[in-house]
């Protein structure tokens, strides 16, 4: 007779749902692939997940559109994402939980007490610092709730660009004083999973990695899991060969666009955006923006809303930089990528400082 201990294990839950060991291995193989681990890890992941207990997860919503939760929950059929999501003990989630009002708040406090030091805190949305009253839940400011729940969490997962970097609320002029989770919490391990929204598997992949290895995956300089954010869209784009051969779509309906040529000139931010859209894709691997014919918006990067127009090429500056931009284009589009990176940083700095920047100030190195 299985004990409560074994009943909470993933292998038991899957078996109870009619999933055989081969199905479990298939699940782990897919997970291994998603986490970009060596295929030999599939069996080790299977062995590890067999013993893991259901983790408690508290999911908080602040200044956000709930798009990240929508991204995660909109699957057409049982998928790896839904299996992982169904496996965790989601003790608090304002959109998904059945309870409301005091009952919902009670559920959160009970989970915090019962799993003190062990629960995972997931945050969706930015936190307003201009006036804490701009965003409240049950009469408490987002800032107060975050500090209270983070205190006894094992780790924090910032889901979406809003929680990771401030996102849309943080865009100029940032009327609410929106900041990211890591701007407030300094004493907990935090992992950022940016994207507007993030690819669902990036969220569940991190959860799965944590369950398997009892630690967060390797992170980049912006605390993003390298599994999904190590490469730029440009690095893995199937249209990269056209960029390399100088074949660009000049408008959305020209011959180049119909032939699937590079969308750099139509504003694609792929060269400066780190994400997994090019390989993992969207909607059960149906497609992704570039494959659908639209350039990358750069939604997993900080300040992407203030990085110039979505339809302006990276090498073409906006605002006061138009004169200098002509020189950059003349220098070649390859240099334009590096200039685009430098431009992005310089523009942000210049706008903040109200400086004038000349051509001589530009660096040709990223």
């Amino acid at each position: 007779m299985p004990t409560q201990d074994t009943q909470d294990r993933l292998s038991h839950i899957l078996k109870s749902n009619g999933v055989s060991r081969r199905g479990f291995i298939k699940y782990c193989s897919t997970l291994t692939s998603l986490l970009a681990l060596h295929p030999s890890m599939a069996m080790k992941i299977a062995e590890s997940l067999e013993k893991v207990q259901r983790p408690s997860v508290i999911w908080l919503h602040f200044q956000e559109c709930t798009g990240c939760s929508e991204s995660l929950t909109r699957s057409h059929a049982p998928t790896i994402e839904s299996l992982i999501f169904d496996y965790i003990s989601l003790d608090y989630h304002e959109t998904l939980m059945a309870a409301a009002g005091n009952a919902a708040e009670k559920a959160m406090h009970e989970a915090m007490e019962a799993h003190k030091g062990k629960y995972l805190l997931v945050v969706e949305g930015s936190i307003p610092m201009g006036n804490p009253g701009y965003s409240t839940v049950a009469g408490e400011s987002n800032l107060h709730v975050l500090e209270k729940v983070a205190a006894d969490a094992a780790a924090i997962i910032s889901v979406g660009t809003c929680a990771s970097f401030g996102g849309l609320p943080h865009a100029n002029p940032n009327p609410t004083g929106a900041v990211s989770v890591s701007d407030i919490i300094k004493n907990k391990p935090i992992i950022n999973i940016p994207g507007c929204p993030p690819i669902p598997v990036a969220i569940t992949g991190v959860l799965a990695h944590y369950l398997t290895f009892n630690r967060l995956p390797k992170l980049d300089s912006l605390s993003r899991p390298e599994t999904f954010y190590a490469n730029t869209i440009h690095d893995r784009c199937y249209r990269r060969t056209f960029y390399d051969r100088g074949l660009f779509a000049e408008s959305f309906d020209d011959e180049g666009a119909k032939k699937g040529w590079c969308l750099y000139k139509l504003g694609c931010k792929g060269p400066t955006t780190y994400n997994a859209c090019a390989t993992v894709k969207w909607n059960d691997k149906t497609s992704w923006p570039v494959e659908a014919g639209h350039g990358c918006l750069g939604c997993s990067e900080p300040n992407f809303w203030d990085a110039g127009g979505f339809y302006q090429a990276l090498s073409i500056p906006s605002g006061n930089y138009k004169k200098a931009g002509a020189s950059a284009i003349a220098a070649g589009l390859a240099a334009g990528v590096a200039v685009g990176l430098a431009n992005k940083h310089k523009k942000a700095h210049a706008v903040k400082q109200h400086d004038d920047v000349s051509v001589d100030d530009w660096s040709e190195k990223s």
């Binding site: 692939s33 059929a77 119909k258 032939k259």
Partner: protein, 140 residues
């Protein structure tokens, strides 16, 4: 001219030979090296086709080039999985799909036989018990 009078032309994304990304060649070389390693050192290898920047046309072409050999296995668990050995011994293709027939992952495995095909040893005792029950019921 009004917006309604502008003809809309839909054409599939053209991936002719000219539009090829030329990744097939490098992938075939990688597979060959993996096969040599497996033969000489017994090191199994797995290549995730969906993580490789191939167009849909190229993926289809690659599988066409590798072909289908003598062994064809169908696995039904969490959806269908096609598993077959290609025309080249030791090179297997695995196509995992979910219950909606959506592709989960596609792998080229260089091995004698993919691990997922082998009967799980841990499940043998339970199979023995179930078979015993079947025998007892048959006797009755």
């Amino acid at each position: 001219m009004t917006a309604a009078s502008i003809p809309l032309v839909f054409s599939p994304l053209a991936f002719s030979q000219k539009s090829s990304t030329n990744h097939i060649y490098s992938l075939l070389v990688e597979i060959k090296h993996a096969l040599e390693n497996f033969h000489q050192q017994g090191i199994k290898q797995s290549i995730d086709l969906l993580a490789t920047p191939l167009s849909a046309f190229e993926r289809k072409r690659l599988l066409g080039l590798l072909g289908k050999g003598e062994v064809d296995i169908n696995l039904t668990s969490l959806g269908k999985s096609e598993i077959y050995e290609t025309n080249y011994n030791g090179i297997w293709f695995i196509n995992h799909k979910d219950e909606d027939n959506q592709v989960l992952t596609q792998l080229i495995e260089i091995t004698q036989i993919p691990d997922i095909v082998l009967s799980p040893i841990k499940d043998i005792p339970e199979s023995t018990k179930k078979l015993q029950t079947l025998i007892e019921n048959e006797v009755k």
